[in-house]
């Protein structure tokens, strides 16, 4: 479905260096990215802000022309066959709308039917399907500007699917959504991927999106792919450490010397202690018992390494300090 | 009291800085103003060419050219069509935040606008004026004191313009869609102030009617003061009267608007 080989994109930045002097500088947004996505896959594409995610997506969709390397999407060259490709892929942006602000939602769908030249019967069938699954009927006649973010996103996803794309690209689709809306959207996308076989590529900052939807995760930073594989495997590989947060009844000295614990930090004068431990060395349950033996425990919780932490680790691992 | 004045001074300074960040925009805007100035000069010169020189409504050709460059510069200082910031804040209800602050909203906006005008008088007023003074026949005041009167007159012009824009924005509290009303003002206000042609070109009955309104005070008055057309004292008095009237009206309407928000919940 997608073949990317040695893809690179540089931008020219002009910077003021003096009163009148300006310097010209080439900045690489994407250095050299290679990957393959097969039909029916669901891939999470993650990385910190400015890592090169949007630049890659723009090149995949044909908006931006690569400065080096090769891209094929659906067997087409995106930048040369942009319009042809547009009819075969769907794109959803969490932070920008492809709907018409002042028009009722259904009218936007109708306009897209004309723009994508979809057969009316097929259009009606797909719209009915999405309306059913995403519960659009409550607000289909409402102007888009009056929709809540959750409702709008359901509209956006529908808009991207009406021409039955083989590939759906989602750029931060769950950003800003409440938990219920997120869950509803993920469920729909998972179903889409499983039953219709639509290939999904999504960028996100929310690890839950990946966990719920993607069997495969790709991490990018500084314009390079740092890791590519199943999520759990990657997390285990680079961040085997979790943190047990223990709130004690009374302040105590640092709880040193517990088996399997890598480091101990204390907060609030010893009232809260954070114990980092390796998942392969011990378990949270065993640790809690051990801690309870040494001091009365008020509350405990476990922190998983978050996505930025994972990315940071991956980055540190791939580029040893020179 | 001192602290309060200090607060408004800060706001004015912030207004200055806010617009000072748009230096490129100022450059592009100046280019546009200069081109429009050139077109205007051609058209108005054709009037003098057609009647073989002399004066029209008390302006000779040199005064008219001076009028054009002053006008093209003052246009951005006075700002007839401001941003619709306040309108939007009123429509969305965000204005409540502004109203709960320990300041007078009208005065705060005036302070910010004066700051903006101060930047505009450097970046937008001086360049067209310099071009006019260097490349065209230009009428400088015969008495340096006139420059001081002109500065005062330009300041009053900003106060009048801001007063009118503030009242138009406040109308959003009552009107469903104020864009129609401000749209009409945007279209006609500048012409009635004397931007397109000097008001003294108008038939005398129209001039009499116009000087009963605040419009000439936003553009024609400072220009007349500069080219020494008419009595500076009378021009300034007319402006001062309208500046006071509009400021008071703004405060009264603001109070009613606040009352409406507090009692009726918007």
């Amino acid at each position: 479905m997608i073949e990317v080989e040695d893809l690179g994109r540089t931008f020219v930045v002009r910077r003021k260096t003096g009163l009148l002097r300006r310097s010209r500088e080439e900045v690489a947004a994407v250095t050299s990215v290679s990957f393959r996505v097969d039909a029916g896959e669901a891939v999470g594409y993650i990385g910190p802000n400015g890592a090169g995610k949007s630049t890659t997506i723009k090149m995949l969709t044909g908006i931006l022309v690569p400065t080096s390397g090769r891209v094929r999407v659906c067997g087409l060259d995106p930048s040369r066959q942009r319009t042809e490709l547009a009819k075969r892929i769907g794109v959803v942006f969490g932070q920008r709308s492809q709907l018409w602000w002042d028009l009722p939602l259904v009218e936007s769908f109708e306009l897209l039917r004309h723009i994508y030249r979809v057969d009316p019967a097929a259009h009606a069938r797909r719209l009915a399907e999405c309306t059913e699954l995403l519960g659009l009927h409550e607000f289909a006649a409402t102007p888009v500007r009056q929709l809540s973010l959750g409702q709008r996103m359901r509209g956006e996803v529908t808009a991207a699917l009406l021409h039955a794309p083989e590939l759906l690209v989602l750029d931060e689709p769950t950003i800003g959504l409440d938990l219920e809306s997120k869950e509803r959207l993920r469920e729909f996308l998972a179903e889409l991927n499983a039953s219709r076989g639509t290939t999904l590529v999504l960028t996100t900052h929310d690890l839950d999106d990946i966990e719920r939807l993607c069997r495969r995760m790709m991490v990018i930073d500084h314009g390079q792919v740092l890791a590519d594989g199943p999520l759990a495997e990657l997390r285990e590989e680079v961040s085997p450490e979790r943190t047990l947060v223990v709130d004690l009844e009374r302040p105590a000295a640092p709880l040193d010397g517990l088996p399997g614990v890598v480091s101990v930090r204390t907060e609030a004068g010893g009232l809260r202690q954070l114990l980092s431990f390796r998942r392969d060395a011990t378990t949270a349950a065993r640790l809690i018992t051990l801690v309870a033996d040494r001091a009365p425990v008020h509350d405990v919780s476990v922190i998983e390494p978050d996505i930025d932490e994972v990315v940071k680790r991956l980055y540190q691992r791939r580029s040893p300090v020179a | 009291m001192c602290a309060l004045i200090g607060c408004y001074l800060r706001i004015a300074l912030a207004g200055f800085r806010r617009y000072a960040t748009y230096r490129q925009a100022a450059l592009a805007g100046t280019a546009t103003n200069v081109v429009f100035g050139l077109i205007k000069i051609s058209i108005l010169s054709a009037v003098y060419a057609a009647q073989g020189g002399g004066s029209v409504g008390g302006y000779d050709l040199t005064m008219t050219i001076t009028y054009v460059w002053l006008g093209q510069g003052l246009l951005s200082v006075v700002q007839f069509w401001g941003d619709a910031d306040l309108d939007t804040r009123i429509r969305t209800g965000d204005v409540v935040i502004d109203l709960t602050r320990p300041w007078n909203l009208g005065m705060a906006l005036l302070a910010e606008d004066l700051g903006r005008a101060a930047f505009a008088s450097l970046a937008r007023f001086v360049p067209p004026l310099a071009i006019g003074a260097l490349l065209f026949p230009f009428r400088w005041p015969t008495d340096p004191a006139v420059l001081a009167f002109f500065a005062l007159s330009a300041l009053l012009a900003v106060v009048i313009s801001q007063g009118i824009r503030f009242l138009l924005s406040l109308s959003t509290f009552w009107l469903l869609d104020p864009r129609g009303v401000s749209g009409l003002y945007r279209v006609g206000g500048a012409t009635l102030a004397g931007l397109e042609i000097p008001l003294n070109y108008f038939p005398s009955w129209a001039q009499t009617a116009l000087w009963f309104t605040p419009f000439p005070g936003m553009m024609q008055s400072p220009i007349d003061v500069f080219v020494q057309h008419g009595s500076a004292a009378a021009l300034l008095a007319h402006q001062a009267l309208w500046a006071v009237l509009l400021t008071v009206a703004g405060q009264v309407v603001l109070r009613r608007a606040v009352h409406k928000v507090v009692v009726q919940g918007g």
Binding site: F93, L111 | T32, A46
Partner: protein
């Protein structure tokens, strides 16, 4: 493509006409904007009998032809002025991701019918001027009367598109574009003879302003060009319009290539 375009326009019309009062007020504001320039001409002719060698009726004819052309162009493609917002908010990327021409989408997506207000005022003046002017009507002048607003609108539309393409390079491109769009309208409302020097060369011939209203008006009035131009120049507006459209299309395509990173 044509079907998609017309459905975009129709959707905009439905939405705008549903707020009737607001629409009428906006329309009125546009009518008055055009009347504003008329007021200036009327006041000037209250002082003198001719401008640049042309009488009041002749200048009003030039003004009316310019107003109709500009109004039509503003209505159909004036929305390219929104380009900076489209680029800043990323909406332009959305436009590029669809299988339809970017310019058509941009112009149709926010089509403003209220801009017809300008055309209404200018058309009113045209009808009035023609009714009091002494014009020798032949099939040729009639045809000219029909073609002139269209050719003028194409010229202005090309100016809108080419100049606003600057927004792909400059943040304040729109402001600079104003010099030739609104400035062009200002310029073409008067006979070219009023102007001189490089200002005339640039606005009348480089961007084609003289062919919007001045030359067609000369042809309608049966007057020779006081500037000594050959007579056929008075009928050349359609050719100029075609060239302008081709040039604007080239500039737009070049700008899009730059935006997508192929150009530079």
């Amino acid at each position: 493509m044509a079907e998609a375009y017309s459905s975009l326009i129709r959707a905009q019309l439905r939405s705008q006409l549903s707020y009737r009062t607001s629409f009428l007020l906006n329309c009125l504001a546009q009518m008055l904007a055009q009347a504003n320039d008329l007021l200036v001409i009327v006041v000037l002719f209250g002082r003198v009998a001719s401008l640049g060698g042309f009488g009041v009726q002749e200048v009003l004819l030039v003004y009316a032809l310019s107003g109709i052309a500009f109004g039509l162009a503003d209505m159909v493609v004036g929305n390219v002025e929104q380009l900076p917002q489209y680029i800043r908010t990323g909406r332009f990327d959305v436009v590029l991701m669809r299988p339809m021409g970017s310019l058509a989408q941009l112009c149709a997506s926010d089509f403003q019918l209220r801009r017809l207000g300008r055309v209404v005022t200018a058309l009113g003046v045209l009808v009035y001027v023609l009714s009091i002017s002494d014009i020798h009507w032949t099939p040729i002048t009639l045809l000219l009367l029909v073609i002139t607003p269209v050719a003028g609108a194409v010229i202005f539309g090309s100016i809108f598109i080419a100049s606003n393409s600057l927004s792909f390079w400059l943040i304040d491109g729109r402001e600079l574009a104003n010099t030739v769009t609104y400035g062009g309208n200002y310029f073409t409302s008067y006979p070219v003879t009023v102007f001189s020097g490089w200002l005339r060369v640039f606005l009348a011939y480089v961007i084609g302003g003289a062919f919007v209203s001045y030359y067609p008006a000369l042809a309608l009035l049966g007057r020779a060009d006081p500037l000594g131009g050959p007579d056929w120049l008075r009928f050349s507006a359609p050719v100029v319009a075609l060239l302008a459209a081709l040039a604007a299309g080239t500039v737009w395509r070049f700008a899009i290539r730059h935006y997508r990173g192929t150009g530079s």
